[in-house]
Symmetry: D2
Subunit: 196 residues, 4 copies
């Protein structure tokens, strides 16, 4: 049975909900699904450190990377994790693992594609296999409840209007469903790739 | 008075409407605004040729580039124009001109950012000065009538649901207004840059 | 036995040599390797058409895309092929095929990464699985004979000084070897993915 | 007289040398040139904070952004600065300032273009005017001493073989000269843009 790890940073909670949806989708395929949330406390003087997380990621068959889009790119906290994982890169520990990515921001488009492109670049440095969204754009007016309503191809995008009220974060049903499907797609790919 | 040229390809007519909106905005600032529409008839065996257009672009103070996003990038017809303009690149005829870009597609996000990034790369090869959108994301739910509703930063994005009925193309009022503002911004930048 | 198709455009012949090297590498793994060279004669009024090529690509297990980097992106002729292949996209005929890419230009870096990013975006629209280079950067001074001397991660980059003499195109031994390795890697991935 | 600020992170010292070269070039045009080096000590729990730097950047006419390319993107420490500068973004304090960027890595190409693209995206979010390299690719074999030897168009790239010996960092003469020219180009653009 293939193992899927989801490693992500979330500031206001939206990306966390998307990570959970990815995990939910993967869980339809495999019992081995783990969520790793990057937190600021792991970062000292700009450097992230958590050897246990890196060890567990080295065991996974698939790694899905997630970050909000902050100022047109991955959050600094997520990048601190990525930079620390250069130790895994140097040893090519993640070579030929299955990879995927997701992001969330307040704008319908904004610069989310740039974030997904970056996640794919990082995965390529690790010599991973990148899994695309696998869903056609919903191709209709935005109703907030349809799969791939934002039309992303490289991975999953989520969008929510900025939450000013302090209420708990929520995500659009269509974005959540896209993430569920993608988690399932990733796990199926990992099973197939690893001959399960 | 600064001169602004808008050079674009349009398949189904949406990008044409955006080009006209850019021109409308620029016309609020300067009387010298020209639209150049790339058409398939200018392309023979994959190569675009129209010396007169290249001569007129060489005279412009600002050039705004526009293409629909087809398969995640500029349309082939637009790229044929870009490749032919490598003669202007070789002579650096467009060096220090003001540049900007816009695109349109059927998805709310899709891969439109990639198209704008490409337009900025091409402008950089020509040693141009790239003008950003200059509008904050509308930051609210999509109502179709607000400026920069899609939240683009590098240039202007427009989005319309695919038109299956054969009716004339239309664009969202918010996207049109974003294009009008951007055309004005480009022309103001060209005036300022050229000391008018 | 997995089948590998290499579809590419080449102007001055360098990208053609890289395509042959990809095919050479793939041939170490499978007997089913086909090269499809896009030519200007397939393009009328900016539109590429060759139904037989599209039919054969639909049968392949892996498709490797190649184009020189012209003005910071894929050649217009290659993009004309890509736009025509939107018929395959619409039917998602290439879904879950293995994908990869390569490019060539005259500069050591230049904007080749942008071309590879575009090839990956297009493959993602087709819901394909993207295979990274799988080679660490050579990490030494440029000697022209080492694998991945340019340090590319998303796919293969080749670079040759512009050829002014009219002599036949040649490519650097290191770039050729990188392409051979990548062709082999693609074919191995296709075999594994398809359970051969 | 226009003021130019260079804000950058440097790990092993190469990007620092490039920042100094940018400043040297700008100093040929204006006396007001400031270097701001991001350091890990400004970052607590992944968040960068230095109000004085942000206040000084708000006063500059031009801001040049620099970071090594780590794992295919800007260093986490630099991104922590960028994320903190979202306060300036929210107030659009940098709107219509002149912007530029530079990066350094160990590979001849690698993913440096991605870093420059990201710097341009971030500048666009701040509604800035992006200044391209303005130098043709050197177009010859790599001799290490010519301007724009790597052929970058969006900004300046530097490359040095990884330094294993612990000796002080050095950069290639050609890369240094490219940075000097670019600093000068940025300052001239700032003078012109601000009517000096």
């Amino acid at each position: 049975m293939a193992s899927v790890a989801v490693v992500y940073f979330s500031g206001s909670g939206h990306t966390h909900l998307m990570a959970e949806a990815i995990a939910e989708g993967a869980s339809k395929v495999t019992e081995s699904v783990q969520l790793f949330r990057i937190v600021g406390e792991q970062i000292t003087h700009g450097r992230w450190k958590d050897d246990q997380v890196l060890e567990q990621l080295a065991q996974a068959d698939a790694i899905v990377f997630g970050s909000p889009t902050y100022m047109g790119g991955v959050a600094a906290q997520f990048k601190a994790f990525v930079d620390a994982a250069s130790s895994a890169w140097f040893a090519q520990q993640w070579k030929d693992k299955i990879a995927g990515g997701f992001t969330h921001s307040g704008s319908l488009s904004g610069d989310k594609q740039g974030t997904l492109l970056y996640l794919a670049i990082n995965a390529a440095q690790h010599s991973m296999m990148w899994v695309s969204t696998g869903e056609m754009p919903s191709g209709s007016v935005d109703q907030g409840d349809n799969v791939n309503r934002l039309g992303s191809s490289l991975g999953v995008m989520g969008q929510s209007a900025p939450n000013m009220s302090g209420a708990p974060a929520t995500i659009e049903p269509g974005d959540r469903l896209t993430a569920v499907h993608y988690g399932q797609r990733i796990a199926i790919a990992a099973q197939r790739w690893h001959g399960h």
